[in-house]
Amino acid sequence: MKFGIVVNEGPYQHQSSDSAYLFAKAAIARGHEVWRVFFYHDGVNNASALTEPPQDDRHIVNRWSKLAEEHKVDLVVCVAAALRRGIKEENLAKGFRISGLGQLVEAGTKTDRLITFGD
């Protein structure tokens, strides 16, 4: 099946970004396609290129970038939510792109299932 995933919270503060990532990995391992991950609300903070978690912690942003690269997952950050929160091309991590809310609607129409992770 073709999956869309929505992430509504930033990295580290809530577990939702972790859960979304582990769900995406499991879906791919199960032979499904993760077509798009859409980052909304504080979820846009997952796309910051500047995060530096402690050495012994997971690197949430890099994990997403790697997933995008290895499995051609489309990582889309909502432009309106991102501007409010200071995520722009200049601090955007690899593998993410900034676009409009239409991409979320499309994730609903073009996938078989759309799963939301948030607070």
Binding site: H41, L104, V105, G108, T109, K110, L114
Partner: protein, 121 residues
Amino acid sequence: MSEVKKFMFVNRKAPYGTIYALEALEVVLITAAFDQDVSLVFLDDGVFQLKKGQQTKGIEIKNFSPTYRALEGYDVEKLYVLKESMDARGLSEDDLLVPVTVLTTAEMGALMDEQDVVLSF
């Protein structure tokens, strides 16, 4: 996007305390613009979003409640409120900014079941 799917937006949070209600409205408007079949549901504290008389000057946040009145202009006409949620908050239909369809718990559950995409805020 030629496909039309049933999109339901479930609003469960009060306005202003968090941004979810406001950013949910932005998605609703876009989804309607893409000619999808849109339903809005107000459950639990989400019914507070529709309360008449919001005056936000004192908290310096924009009052976005007039947008609910504008939804009709975007052909968003299916607004549902859970009766139990309204009752528990001391609200009646007269307190709400817009006309809504009031549903029982069983009716609301059945309506959710028949959606293609459910987005919650």
